[in-house]
Amino acid sequence: MSTPSTADAPTHPPEPAATNTGVTPPPAQSARSRTTERVIGVLALVGTVCTVWLGLWVTPPDRTQGDLVRLVYIHPGVAWVALYLAFGLAAVSSVLYLWPRTRSLFWDRLAAAAVEVGVVFNICTLVSGSIWGKPTWGVWWAWDARLTLTAVLLVLFLGYLALRRIPAEPEVRARRSAFVALFAVIDVPLVHFSVNWWNTLHQGATVLNPGLTLKIHGSMAWTLLLGFAALTLVFVWMLLVRYRIGVLEDWLDANELGAALAERQAEGADRAGGPLAGGHPGDGAPTERVGVA
């Protein structure tokens, strides 16, 4: 009687088979996955340290900006991660969740992880931009099109994270989160093209301009590109860890309900005092699996 009931089977991959004890542990992180995560983490750390070293000590000051150009080695990098990688990935994952053929809670967890990490990078973008703006423009903040739209983006994705905290069935939460993510991500192209469409204080794109031509050269260009690569690796590492957290949280949410149901079934069995205690109706035999999904 130890065969698990199909009604208790999880509806989304990847989940391992139930154990003989009736408890389905969460999918374990493979050794290969752990190794990949560690390698990416080490590369991200080394890349970040190299960027800081090149940015602060090796590259020369700019002719017009002076030492302030050193902030450019990290500010576009964090903006790249937040706007294009994190929120772009959240949008793609949301589409893949909403698309019936690819619908899986995997995409929902990936979108949630990308948004949370993206929000942190979005905050870094606004803070580093503000610190650069004070000595350059004379103010910490200006209601400039790009700055304002980036702040709006942060608020929209904070709303996304708040929406996910509202208790709901996983499928319901995933569906409405996906719609909100797709609505919020409309702001990303507005942020990107704001410096072309409106007269703004913010300078034009240094790398991601229409011609994809680097507007800085030599050691400055290499340091900027290294900063992009290092922060991308930091994002990937954070995404992997945050995704795993999502898997564990979902498992705990599902099993809290399962444990409560099991408790009620056990209470019912005690009251009945008979073989109906958690068993299949009619066969009179107790089951060894109690509703833990």
Binding site: V23, P26, H75, V117, I123, V127, V241, G278
Partner: protein, 54 residues
């Protein structure tokens, strides 16, 4: 230069703190899941024994 240093310090500190928080969260959840699995096993055993006894 103090603005540059401040910018680097703020960003690197934010990213470092968030990374530490992620690792800490995952470790705590791993422990909670391990406890839940062992508790689930004992919870499963109890009603089954009741059923057999009845």
């Amino acid at each position: 230069m103090r603005y540059v240093i401040a910018g680097y310090v703020v960003i690197l500190t934010l990213l470092f703190l968030y990374s530490v928080q992620l690792v800490w969260r995952r470790r705590r959840l791993n422990r909670t899941v391990a406890r839940a699995v062992s508790a689930g096993r004992s919870a499963v055993a109890a009603p089954s024994d009741t059923g057999r006894a009845a």
